[in-house]
């Protein structure tokens, strides 16, 4: 069942666009992924495209196997809904795109040469401010302009540092000359003293001038250190400018600002010399787009990715239009969703027809509601919303959803039935498990509520039925118990002693009913005497039964003489007049020769009479019947 729900909810998510995306490496089609055929069409030849999909749950989108983080899922949904609700971006899109194209052209490798190096940069720089005036630019051009201006400033600083470094180098060379000069002089002085005659006070070397030399050496070392510091500062400045610029470029790419990424890349290419063209920042991220082990990311790699994405977005929006024209609204919606998240800031997406967007918004809301119903497992309302969505989008795959929903409903109902059966058999644990299963599948299943009411009602009923059962048993009202046997059976199912008693009563009354039925059949076959025998036999144990009494009263007029004789016989026997009783039975047997009751009674009484005849002569004389046999009253045999 759990597996079923996974399918169900994945289906629901698929329906509503809340796709459960597989990890980036997934190569198989995953339910819920929105495959971008537009991307795969051309890019497969260049890239190893694993999958492109929008993962609303994780707030990410995969493109060419790379996951773009789009924020959390709620914000992502809200952003897409806001896009569908918002009016198109104002401004002349074509003019904006032309400005951006012009900037690209000004900075293109074929346009920039030594003579126009600065003018091209300046002209492109100025155009950035024009582009920033358009709403759809969102002032990102100003960011590029700031970055370019910063590079220019750094470049001036670099020049100043270079001058300082050159001056220091000149100073160091001068200091080096002074040191050499001073050292030579000290050496010469020492040589002169060494060659003088020994009689003039002896040979003695002098250390005069060495202190000054020491200071000169120290000065030269300080200058050397300053030069090295300037060199380091220049290197750091250059690296910093590269890193900052590259960070901005990769940032634009990951933010899906593809045009700005391309323009920033173009500026970078012009501003930095050939040795700095490799990507240092975001190299790892860029490499992920190119599954080649020894791939070296360059500016061109970024350019390629950005242009490919722009092409995909452009093709995606054309597909959206075409599908909408063909009436395939749901497919169009899917394409729009994936295209939006790939190229949210592309002018073609931002200026999408508001009327079509409105249509998509209505579909989106219905799909969201359908998803909510699915989340809440409100299966009863799924069909209604599926039909509503199908009303908007005929290509919506609602049949499979309805099939799964119907299966779920059936499974839930079966579990409720199983719970009922378990409850009736007294297996509470099994009933609870089955009910829980039914609730998990379909929490709002009306049969669950109905079952709960039945359980409560049953508990009430049990509280009433047990005392009633006990009272009827104490009053020997078997027929009343029999008439309510189902209610008692339900109420007493968990009470073994009473259940056994109920079973005995049901069997007893059932047997009595069978005898009554047998008597009725015999009477209807014109054999009332045998019918009476059956009733008399039954009456021995069930003398209080009303149905038996009624049947006896129905048949009695047909067998009045026979009944009278039997009654008389039983009366005599009861009074100890066995011989008289025997004669009465003989007389009754004359009327009904086939009677087993008569035969048995005669045999029994004959044995008694034969065995006790010698005592009889001395016993007390019993009172004979005083009433003649002319009365119509039918005596009823006494109950035993």
């Amino acid at each position: 069942m759990k597996h079923f729900f996974n399918i169900l909810f994945i289906s629901a998510l698929t329906v509503s666009g809340m796709a459960q995306a597989e990890p980036p490496k997934a190569t198989t089609t995953t339910s819920g992924d929105y495959k971008s055929s537009t991307v795969e069409g051309g890019a497969d030849r260049l890239f190893d495209v694993n999958s492109d999909s929008v993962d609303m749950e994780n707030g990410s989108m995969q493109w060419k196997g790379k996951t773009f983080n789009l924020g959390n899922s709620r914000l992502m949904r809200a952003r897409f809904e806001r896009y569908l609700q918002s009016p198109p971006a104002s401004g002349d899109v074509e003019k904006y795109i032309k400005i951006l194209d012009k900037i690209e052209k000004l900075l293109a490798p074929n346009a920039v040469n030594q003579s126009n190096y600065y003018t091209c940069q300046q002209e492109a720089f100025n155009l950035l401010f024009e582009a920033a005036q358009f709403e759809m630019d969102a002032n990102n051009s100003l960011t590029i302009a700031s970055q370019v201006k910063k590079i220019w400033t750094m470049r001036a600083e670099f020049r100043d540092l270079n001058i300082t470094k050159n001056q220091l180098e000149a100073l160091r060379k001068m200091q080096e000359g002074v040191i050499v000069n001073r050292a030579q002089k000290i050496e010469e002085s020492n040589d002169d003293k060494g060659s003088a005659p020994s009689g003039q006070g002896g040979v003695k070397k002098t250390s005069q001038g060495t202190t000054e030399l020491g200071y000169r050496v120290k000065d030269e070392a300080r200058t050397q250190a300053e030069i090295l510091a300037k060199n380091a500062e220049m290197t750091a400045l250059g690296l910093k400018s590269q890193v900052e610029f590259q960070s901005q470029m990769v940032g634009f790419l990951l933010q899906r600002r593809y045009r700005h990424c391309i323009i920033a890349s173009a500026f970078y290419r012009v501003l930095f010399k050939g040795g700095s063209q490799n990507i240092k920042v975001g190299a790892k991220e860029v490499k992920e787009f190119f599954p080649v082990s020894d791939f070296v990311p360059t500016l061109e790699s970024l350019d390629t990715l950005a242009r490919e994405a722009m092409n995909d977005v452009s093709l995606g929006m054309k597909t959206v239009d075409d599908l909408q024209k063909q009436g395939e609204i749901y497919a169009s919606f899917e394409r729009l969703q994936e295209t939006y998240f790939l190229g949210e800031y592309e002018p073609v997406v931002m200026t999408f027809d508001p009327v079509k967007k409105r249509e998509m918004l209505d579909l989106w809301r219905d799909l969201r509601e359908l998803q909510r119903i699915g989340d809440e497992r409100d299966l009863a309302n799924v069909e209604g919303y599926v039909n509503k969505v199908k009303g908007r989008a005929k290509d919506f795959p609602g049949t499979s959803i309805l099939s799964k929903v119907n299966n779920a409903i059936n499974a839930s109902n079966m579990s409720v039935l199983s719970a009922k059966q378990a409850a009736l058999s007294g297996d509470t644990n099994k009933a609870e498990a089955a009910l829980e299963r039914a609730g998990k599948i379909w929490p709002q299943n009306p049969q669950i509520k109905e079952f709960a009411n039945q359980v409560v009602s049953r508990q009430d009923k049990i509280g009433q039925m047990i005392p009633e059962f006990d009272r009827l048993v104490s009053e020997s009202k078997w027929r009343d118990i029999f008439n309510k046997k189902l209610e008692f059976a339900l109420a007493l199912s968990s009470d073994k002693a009473r259940s056994d008693k109920l079973r005995q009563i049901i069997n007893r009354v059932g047997e009595l009913d069978a005898n009554i039925q047998k008597a009725s059949v015999l009477a209807s076959q014109n054999n009332p005497y045998l019918a009476w025998d059956v009733l008399v036999e039954a009456n021995k144990t069930e003398s209080d039964d009303l149905v038996l009494a009624k049947t006896r009263s129905d048949i009695a007029p047909l067998v009045s003489d026979y009944a009278r004789l039997i009654g008389l016989a039983e009366k005599f026997e009861k009074e100890g007049a066995e011989a008289a009783a025997l004669n009465a039975w003989l007389q009754a047997q004359d009327i009904n020769p086939a009677s087993l009751a008569c035969g048995e009674a005669i045999k029994r009484l004959a044995r008694i009479v034969a065995g006790g005849s010698n005592v009889r002569a001395t016993s007390e004389v019993p009172v004979p019947p005083l009433t003649p046999a002319t009365t119509d009253e039918v005596p009823v045999p006494p109950a035993r």
């Binding site: 011989a579 004959a606 044995r607 034969a610 019947p625």
Partner: protein, 129 residues
């Protein structure tokens, strides 16, 4: 020697035979026989009120219908049908004490001398006929 005429024999012998037969059969036809002096037993009266017949002795002409019970050392209970239905029809039971020598077969006819002992008819003497 005087000779008896044959006619005498021809008439005398039948007459003698007839006389003998009448002497034997008539008393029986008249309901007498061995217990001719006893009152005939009334089945209806017995059934209706045997208490008033307590201790009385009657003659019961009947046919054996069935032996109902036999107790060694005591006797047997027979179901008999009165041959004279004028005083009541239907079977009644009689007790024949064990006095040896009597074989009862279904269908045999007897004259019983019966005594009403409480509600029971006890056969004191009997005669097959």
């Amino acid at each position: 020697m005087s000779k008896i005429p044959p006619i005498f024999y021809a008439l005398g012998i039948p007459v003698v035979v007839i006389v003998i037969l009448l002497a034997v059969v008539l008393p029986r036809l008249a309901g007498g026989g061995k217990f001719a002096d006893l009152s005939a037993f009334s089945v209806d009266g017995y059934r209706k009120d045997w208490a008033t017949m307590q201790g009385n002795v009657y003659r019961l002409d009947c046919q054996i219908d069935q032996q109902l019970s036999f107790v060694e050392g005591k006797g047997r209970i027979l179901a008999v049908k009165p041959t004279d239905t004028a005083r009541g029809a239907g079977r009644i039971s009689v007790f024949v004490p064990l006095n040896g020598g009597n074989n009862f077969e279904v269908g045999q006819r007897y004259k019983f001398k019966v005594r009403v002992s409480r509600d029971l008819l006890v056969v004191e003497e009997l005669e097959k006929f």
